[in-house]
């Protein structure tokens, strides 16, 4: 009982864009260009944008583990970002613990927060899940604002701007760029590893069909919790790096719906549930958002969000698979066939 079908879509695919779990030349070229940008030190005025693009690519990748791979669309990830940023900063300021260590403590605590969120939302799906993640971050934000003795309350926390390797404070932006690129590569590596692992497949299964996953022996709640914890931990690392770069934690920014929304936006634009997606998304959106922010200034605070929300709608309508999906179509197009 076999009926022939046209060669399957995956076999027709030209390997320009990365296939799940494999490294393509496209990724290598991107990495070489990124390294070049860091090492050459060209365009000092662009260094801010470049290093932020790296940082946010990493953050988009971290979000994507929950949102893209496990189907846990969260608008509360800035809570994990904030937990990471506050943890490493408090450890540094109060106990003189190097951020090189504090980052991992922050990641661990963010993972605990992530697990709690996943367990709280165990039975929620769709918009109910999303709204709960939003509310969760709001609770964390209010907690941070009110626990002044620890977090500095509304004034936030400042890290003394004294360059030192142990303190992870650097005089040159190129060093920060290298640090952020390191973060990006780290999260990218974890994502690729996930794609090529049994655990990664479990997440796809849970995302696509809970009942079927369960019938195949996969524990959906365990998978969801683990995915959220991993995603939260990696987001926390990004938060600590952010604190070490800006040397100031503004509680209304580091835990905010705006930031949470941005994390979700990058993979959505670039391609949900792909490794390259959040990177493409960040390389496009982060410079754009910085540009809009500096041009529109404070006069129209938040307007940049409106503008790229509009962009997001366009992408969702015309390129539902994101930039990665659009590029994939392009590479499959053969002029003479």
């Amino acid at each position: 009982m076999s009926i022939a079908i046209p060669a399957s879509i995956s076999s027709r695919r030209i390997p320009v864009l990365p296939k799940r779990g494999q490294i393509s030349w496209f990724e290598i070229v991107l990495l070489v260009i990124s390294l070049g940008l860091v090492v050459s030190g060209i365009a000092p005025s662009l260094q801010d944008v470049i290093l932020l693009s790296f940082l946010f690519a990493g953050l988009g990748l971290a979000w994507n583990i929950a949102g893209g791979y496990a189907g846990l669309i969260s608008f509360g990830h800035s809570a994990f970002f904030g937990v990471g940023a506050y943890t490493s900063t408090i450890l540094l300021l109060r106990y003189d613990i190097s951020p090189w260590i504090g980052i991992w403590v922050g990641a661990l605590i963010a993972a605990v927060f992530g697990s709690i969120l996943a367990l709280i939302c165990a039975r929620l799906r769709g918009p109910f899940f999303i709204l709960s993640t939003l509310a969760f971050a709001e609770v964390v934000r209010i907690g941070a604002l009110n626990w002044s003795s620890l977090t500095g309350g509304p004034e936030g926390l400042s890290i003394p701007p004294m360059a030192s390797l142990a303190g992870m404070v650097f005089a040159s932006k190129a060093t920060y760029a290298a640090l952020m690129l390191g973060y990006l590569v780290f999260v990218y590596g974890i994502t690729k590893g996930l794609e090529a692992s049994r655990f990664g497949y479990y997440l796809f299964a849970i995302r696509d069909n809970d009942d079927a996953a369960s019938a195949a022996g996969v524990n959906p709640l365990l998978g969801r919790t683990a995915a959220m914890a991993l995603s939260a931990a990696l987001t926390g690392v990004g938060g600590s790096l952010f604190a070490q770069y800006f040397l100031y934690l503004d509680p209304t920014y580091v835990i905010s719906p705006e930031l949470s929304f941005q994390f979700a936006l990058l993979p959505a634009v670039g391609g949900l549930g792909t490794a390259i997606g959040p990177v493409l998304g960040s390389f496009l959106i982060t410079p754009l958002s910085e540009l809009l922010r500096s041009h529109l200034g404070n006069a129209a605070a938040g307007l940049h969000l409106v503008i790229y929300s509009f962009g997001l709608i366009v992408v969702m309508l015309y390129f539902p698979a994101g930039l990665a999906g659009a590029l994939n179509k392009l590479t499959r197009w053969k002029p003479f066939s």
Binding site: S8, S10, A205, N209, A213, G217
Partner: protein
Amino acid sequence: MSTLLEVRHVSRSFHTTTAVDDISFAVQPGELLGLIGPNGAGKSTLFNLIAGVLPPSAGQILFDGKPVTGWKSHDIARIGIARTFQIPKPYRQLSVVENVMLSAFLREKSLAGARKLAETTLADVGLADYSGAPANSLTVGLLKRLEVARALAMRPKLVLFDEIMAGLTPTEVGVMTGFVAGLPARGITVIWVEHVLYAIMKTATRMVVINRGKLIAEGAPAVMARDPAVVKAYLGEEMVLA
């Protein structure tokens, strides 16, 4: 041989309806048990109770002599019970072979090992040509076969088939029937729900008939085809088995 599955006085109600009402039966290893009954009789609900999707309101379920009542679906899967869904539930964004790999992981921990087991199972059910196709491109008939492949890739001791023939052409029904008939010889005990009566009556070693949540008859297919209660509740008229 010891009993593989024992269902003891199991009931399940939803609000006011009692979908499964005090049902008891046992399955021996190597049996191919046909489970039939009219629409809404409670067949799928009974499967959901055995597979741990729903807990029973009353009664006990034993597998391999061990009580498994109220166990979660993923724990039931791990002790060797596989099931198909009446309405297929594929992982839509994955390819056909990846769908089956997720079941194969229960026996093969490595990706390569699971892929191999998945490919073999796909060939078994005649889906080898679709291995790389996205699951969301399959027709209903093919999705039914994917359900079968996913269940069998778990290498279960007991498999619950819920209407795997619906939507198949007569030729396909013939091939699939032959395939199912061969499973007990491979060490897989089968409970099979089907409305395609000529297929199931010809293949089953024993039948259980339920109506409105109650077990109304149990016995050899040829006997069931003439049983007055079964004829009245489901068949309409006596069936002549070729």
